[in-house]
């Protein structure tokens, strides 16, 4: 998120009505209108885009369960965010680690409160949609076999103890921001974080019954492709909205987001065509998402040519991580939350350290523009995010396990399918 807005936020929070800061504290109608729209776009990414993307890849008997987990993640995090999540993320900083409880239930924020040039309520909502999708992204690693009650408890605990601190570190005035880590729209906070958490959760849960032995067909690659397209559409709000203004940087972020996604879809398709013989639709859709993930941390910092290279890298790295690496190592990351979001998120965060161009956002300078130190800072921020996410997620899983009496469904339910076993419904009636 925009660096310059932070100083203003601290002051505005304390003195929301002060005329002394009238120059800083002016609401901009254009910015506000754009961020409201961007927020709505990002909202759509979770219960529509991601639900379709993941649902289409899960087996036909677990399609509704995948939708239910995605939908619930959105609802649960929506409530957690406005009650305590926002305060702990964006409340007054406590030693660089976490926000305080000043804004519990959004107290102290009213219709006149501003964050930069937009109402703070809009900022709250915009940030909320990020928290929601991050939690929902995790479930890609574990569909087909997790207890629904455990997912609910996990979502609440995970957003509170894992997402919120990392969000504060990177965007809320915490230590990574102080260090100068560049993460425009959530490479660390959203993608690396969710990817690592997904990996840990799928390792604890274990492989699906029959994994590697029986065929596990996606219920509908059509739904997945449609989901990827909706994610892409929503991602314009995600990345161009993260500028928190309707300005030239937002326009640049908008453009490079699209270029990276398109390039990655092409790259994934070509590599898959050469490597496995067919240009699959699932591969093309996955490539687009990989490109969107990778450009996320870089969107407001890099030029058009850099975005093409980032997209190219994302397509190639993404393909090999899910089609080769995963099968070699043998973990069952069902829908590749780690392979696509974790690995491509890391690529994007490193690429930001290479390609950040100071003529786009002043002060954000990467290796190729004479600031080798940025690569090290990016590396530290990635390692710290990954370590905190891995260890923290493990603890959250153990607590969830204790609360819900195990986190995995019975074998019978798993074989029958979770749509029927848990929800008592079926996704399709096909004759």
């Amino acid at each position: 998120m925009r660096l310059k807005s932070l100083a203003a936020t601290g002051i505005l929070t304390l003195l929301p009505f002060s005329n002394a800061f009238a120059d800083e504290a002016v609401l901009n109608a254009g910015d506000t209108a754009w961020i409201i729209v961007a927020t709505a776009l990002v909202m759509m990414m979770t219960p529509a885009g991601l639900a379709l993307f993941y649902g289409g890849m899960s087996r036909y008997k677990n399609l509704l369960n995948t939708f239910a987990m995605t939908f619930m993640a959105y609802c649960l995090v929506s409530v957690v965010w406005v009650v305590w999540g926002y305060s702990l993320s964006f409340g007054t900083d406590v030693s660089g680690i976490i926000g305080n409880f000043d804004k519990l239930f959004l107290s102290g924020i009213d219709i006149n409160s501003l964050h930069g040039t937009i109402p703070e309520f809009v900022f709250v909502m915009f940030q909320m949609t990020f928290a929601c999708i991050t939690v929902a992204l995790v479930l890609g690693a574990v569909v087909d076999r997790m207890k629904f009650s455990s997912w609910i408890v996990f979502s609440v605990l995970w957003v509170t103890f894992i997402y919120v601190p990392i969000c504060h570190w990177v965007w809320g005035g915490g230590w990574m921001q102080t260090l100068g880590a560049l993460d425009f729209a959530g490479g660390n906070v959203v993608h690396i974080n969710a990817g690592i958490a997904g990996l840990v959760l799928c390792l604890v849960l274990g492989k699906r019954h029959g994994f590697g032995k029986e065929a596990m067909f996606p219920s509908s690659v059509t739904l997945t492709a449609l989901g990827a397209a909706l994610l892409w559409f929503g991602w314009f709000g995600f990345n161009a909205g993260s500028q928190l203004a309707a300005d030239g940087v937002a326009a640049s972020a908008f453009m490079v987001t699209n270029s990276s996604a398109a390039m990655a879809a092409i790259a994934w398709m070509v590599v898959e065509w050469l490597y496995s013989g067919k240009p699959t639709v699932l591969g093309i859709a996955s490539g687009a998402v990989a490109g969107l993930v990778s450009i996320t941390p870089a969107a407001g910092f890099v030029t058009l040519p850099a975005s093409l290279i980032i997209g190219l890298g994302a397509g190639v790295i993404g393909f090999f991580s899910v089609a080769v690496l995963k099968h070699k190592i043998g973990y069952d990351d069902s829908l590749d939350a780690f392979g696509v979001h974790g690995i491509c998120g890391i690529w994007g965060a490193m690429a930001t350290g290479l390609f950040a161009c100071p003529t786009i956002t002043a002060g954000a300078t990467g290796l190729f523009y004479g600031n080798p130190k940025q690569v090290w800072i990016q590396f530290v921020s990635i390692v710290a995010t990954a370590l905190y996410s891995a260890i923290g997620t493990l603890i959250v899983i153990l607590v969830t396990k204790a609360i819900t009496g195990g986190i995995r469904v019975e074998k019978e339910a798993e074989v029958m399918g979770l749509d029927n076993a848990i929800h008592g419904e079926r996704a399709f009636e096909i004759d």
Binding site: M57, A215, M216, F217, P218, S276, G277, K278, T280, L282, G283, S286, F319, V322, A323, V324, K326, H327, D336
Partner: protein, 112 residues
């Protein structure tokens, strides 16, 4: 009477049906079936995970005819269903004990 069961490639159904009509065959029953022979199944790959689909869709045609027609029908099916590629299918001929036309109660040769 004999029953001829022909398992053919689905896209060949129309050609086979027309060829049989031209030979004066008045009725047939078809079913969509799945199976494999020497053609085996085919592979599908999803993000690098290879799944072999063992059973391939085919169409089965059942025709019951008088013994004297069997050879010419087999020849007609072979000519119209063949592509020359593996997976063209098979024809089985079985004896039929009785046939009844439900509307009239006719039996045997008159019923088919």
């Amino acid at each position: 009477m004999k029953k001829i069961e022909a398992i053919i490639k689905p896209f060949k159904l129309d050609e086979v049906k027309e060829a049989l009509n031209a030979k004066g065959i008045q009725g047939m029953t078809i079913s969509e079936v799945k199976g494999f022979g020497r053609q085996k199944g085919h592979k599908e790959i999803y993000r690098g995970a290879e799944y072999v689909v063992d059973f391939i869709p085919k169409v089965r045609i059942d025709i019951v005819v008088d013994d004297s027609l069997v050879d010419s029908i087999i020849q007609t099916i072979v000519e119209s269903a063949a592509t020359g590629n593996i997976g063209d299918g098979k024809i089985f001929v079985l004896p039929v004990e009785e046939a009844v036309r439900i509307r009239t109660g006719e039996r045997g040769k008159d019923a088919v």
